[in-house]
Subunit: 559 residues, 2 copies
């Protein structure tokens, strides 16, 4: 398979030719899924119909919302789920020698054609306890899917949520660039980060492989090494640059830059502001402009932003302007970004005024040094002139909270509801094969998510329904929904005759995410003390949960 | 390529057939590496010989040491570095349309045959500022390697260090199992975690794919879902179990278990201690034992550890013992692990005494609920009876610090040393193509690492040498080494005639790591306020750094 045709951001329909990462195979699971499969098989239970819910218990990053991502990879995985002979051979060595041959024959035969997967659409805003995926099928097979599904959803949802939170703080008007590949947790961590940050609302990535795989816009300029690899403008041999319209050729662009640097230095606005600028930097900028006259964006902090980088950049940009080119801007990668962006903006505005170059003051300023939600927020509070943020480490490694705790719990077997108890109430699972709905209020905001038993009548628009907290008796509310959306859709019908929901292209997933975020009531979204969004169960499901709970829990004895 | 033959833990020599993850291609890099390559090419500088150092600035997790890992993947990457036609075609679309055709022809032709890589051996204990890799070659090519190298080293070294720290706290006698696949940052995050945790001193993993790829021992039992998938022992149809020596068959193992449960319940030691145990759990344990009589290990906390799980387990284990099998133990996955492990141990010892089953008191107890360095330390302080720890989320996502900040800095071009300045002294890079040595003291401990210029004479055993802090004038010490080890070895000779250092198999890397850790002076290793290990430069290199620094830094003007 050529992974390049696996997904496409430009709107083509998805083909089901496998997960992006070829390492996602049926062996990418925990050993105990195989020992359990064997024990089920040995007990003759392996074909029993089981229903598992995949959900998380707590929103990440101290927030009250999560973006669901990773679904497409899960579906790509099960659509191609099949053991290869060499994988079976390996499993024979990994399991105890007492395991019977027929079990491996059974494994050789299985696929996911009798597994049914319902899921919330990828890119949706989601909340704790509500199943993101509901997986039904023969217990031995579904159990094997647990680890890869949880792996594929956990990080994807976490990093998409992190991206959405960064977008929220940065504001809609800023360009957000994902620059995390080098600091990501492994090569796939980097590629996944680029994909899911795009879903979460980033505009572009530096990761070329992700650009190719997913059609994500790519951005990037040059590094400090590029600047320090030059010594002085004397080493530039090829000095000619044709004007943007092709009408004239400047034979010595290096001298043109130098003359602009002199003009700036001795102009009324700038006299005495800076002295001799760094010559390796000037050479590097000039060379970069010669290579990319239409895309000249320079990293200006290798030596000194205001005394060298910005003046050198401006000289090159003005020389380009003489030839009809418009420079793209600067990047700041260290120091006080608020202060430096403001000073750079003043410098550019002064250039515009002094030399009458229209638009020079609007030069794009990109900032990129160890940024995260907090630093973006602090920059906003200080005031700054940054137009675009390049964000890496803290974004892609989810430094503030490196894992989302998705779990995969058995909720029904052979039509018998099952509950997982725990001394910690928040860890008790909600039994039964369920349906889930989002109820919207008069103002268009989502009000509450509600889970019901599979066969209960759905909530109806304009009809009052009681929504109960699943575990807290006293927390309940009547809701009259203005709109009802069923959350779980059939993304893999298995042997049923349900229609398979199409996997949308990446851009559509991103649009859904941005649209749903914009629809949330603002108090759920704020960074400080957000209001929890309510997640509930129907009255009938509530009663059933507590009946089962009492039934399963041992009665204590006080001594 | 079949990735299964890529690496081998059992001692076979490495073949250079590519990185473990097929997604690691020359496109797995930042776009700016290509824009810079184009600008170098356009300026005719692309063949200039550059030397880059890959290093980190600060040890992770508040510690004073780091484990270097990821080297093999870097070498596998460059050994196979070559652009495919479709990759070149993609790059044409990703770069500005003004880029000249000849550049893409140039890209098509490049490989790493004229790149030279020196590196510290994988699995070594390493320290800030010392280059882990020194990469020399044509600047355009070496620049393209920056992002993949940093990506491949950063997480690998971080998670190996995290594993080593967990091993340090757990102590040598405990079994450490990596259970992180489901919470890892993507599929490759999971596979890398398993590999590098093994290097850092873990004993086994639950990750089957990693077991296959790297020959890492696999461990795993069953989950809570397995327990709750059963209703009662009545549903067990196939009840016969042959004895371990094959001499007799117990036709009704289910009844044998039940009779043992009754015996325990009404024995002198246990009377009144527990009542009716959970019947789904009893059925699940019995079934699991029927499937794995030689490897019976049960998760005992689905309902209630002391009132259900441990008694049920003991009944099954005693029934197995009647047939000559020795149960493997229990796993605790919730609650107060110190308390529960101690109570379980008491229970097992009482069984041993009551029923005369020799060794029953030594039953293995595994614990696995959200463990990390701190909880291991707290368990040690409280006292516990755990023999093995299964560690997931906090280990593999490096929750305590989700990224290691490795960087890749230009230190020389065309034999001209280069320095990267910064207002933050800790970010100033150490210029020059360097050699690095570890100097050992009388007691066998490493004393100090020292960097020298490429052509300086090496430090000699028993000869006094001055070691200087690279940036702090007053910090310096004379050292008389008892042993001198050159750290950087040639792992990829490029076009030189140097001998290529063999890539050792995984087990050897793990042994090196464990051996080097055991050799460190204990005060560098302690968790609380460890002593920093000293990293220094020769007197000559010190002088040169400061000469360059003064030369490059702009002179300020106070106004």
């Amino acid at each position: 398979m050529d992974p390049s045709v696996n997904a496409n951001a430009n709107g083509l329909a998805q083909t089901l030719d496998g997960p992006t990462n070829p390492m996602v195979t049926p062996l990418l699971t925990d050993l105990y899924q195989f020992t359990m499969a064997y024990a089920y098989w040995k007990a003759g239970k392996h074909l029993e119909q089981a229903v598992f819910d995949l959900f998380f218990r707590k929103n990440p990053f101290g927030g009250e919302y999560t973006i669901f991502a990773g679904l497409e990879e899960c579906i790509q995985f099960i659509a191609n789920f099949k053991f290869k002979d060499e994988e079976i051979a390996f499993l024979r060595t990994a399991l105890p020698a007492t395991c019977e041959d027929d079990f491996f024959e059974y494994l050789r035969g299985i696929d996911c054609s009798d597994v049914e997967v319902h899921a919330i659409s990828e890119g949706s805003v989601v909340f704790p306890k509500i199943p993101l995926l509901r997986v039904q099928g023969p217990i031995a097979v579904v159990q094997l899917l647990e680890t890869p599904f949880v792996n594929l959803v956990n990080y994807a949802s976490l990093v998409a949520t992190n991206a959405a939170r960064h977008r929220f703080v940065a504001g809609k008007s800023k360009n957000l660039l994902e620059f995390g590949l080098r600091r990501a947790q492994g090569p796939d961590g980097g590629i996944s980060a680029s994909k899911y940050c795009y879903i979460g609302g980033f505009d572009a990535s530096s990761n070329v492989a992700a650009g190719r795989l997913f059609g994500i816009p790519l951005r990037g300029t040059h590094s400090h090494a590029f600047v320090s690899s030059f010594m002085s403008p004397d080493e530039i041999v090829e000095k000619a640059l044709r004007s943007s319209d092709g009408s004239v050729t400047c034979e010595d662009f290096v001298s043109l830059v130098q003359s602009w640097l002199n003009k700036i230095q001795w102009s009324n606005s700038f006299r005495g502001i800076f002295g001799e600028t760094n010559q390796s930097e000037l050479a590097a900028f000039t060379s970069y402009a010669l290579a990319f006259p239409t895309n000249f964006l320079a990293l200006v902090d290798t030596y000194d932003v205001m005394r060298s980088g910005v003046p050198n950049f401006s000289a090159v940009a003005l020389a380009l302007s003489d030839l009809g080119y418009k420079a793209a801007g600067i990047r700041l990668d260290s120091g006080d970004l608020a202060y430096l962006s403001i000073e750079s903006r003043k410098f550019f505005c002064a250039i515009e005024k002094e030399f009458g170059v229209i638009g020079f003051g609007k030069m794009t300023i990109t900032a990129s040094n160890d940024l995260n939600e907090e630093t973006l927020d602090a920059l906003n509070k200080q005031g700054h002139e940054v137009d675009a943020f390049g964000i890496g480490t803290y974004l892609v490694t989810c430094y503030a909270q490196a894992a989302l705790g998705c779990v995969f719990k058995l909720v029904e077997i052979n039509n018998q509801p099952r509950i997982k108890l725990s001394e910690d109430v928040s860890k008790v699972s909600i039994p039964c094969k369920k349906r889930c709905y989002r109820l919207f209020g008069r103002e268009g905001y989502p009000l509450v998510d509600i889970m019901t038993g599979e066969n209960e009548p759905p909530p109806k628009v304009a009809e009052r329904i009681l929504c109960r907290h699943p575990f807290n008796e006293s927390k309940r509310a009547y809701v009259v929904p203005q709109c009802v959306e069923e959350l779980l859709k059939c993304y893999w019908p298995g042997s049923s005759d349900k229609r398979r929901e199409e996997l949308p292209p990446l851009k559509k997933i991103r649009e859904r995410c941005i649209q749903q975020l914009s629809q949330m009531r603002p108090d759920h979204m704020r960074r400080l003390n957000p209001t929890p969004y309510k997640v509930s169960v129907s009255a009938k499901l509530y009663d059933f949960i507590h009946f089962l709970w009492l039934n399963e829990a041992p009665v204590g004895e006080l001594q």
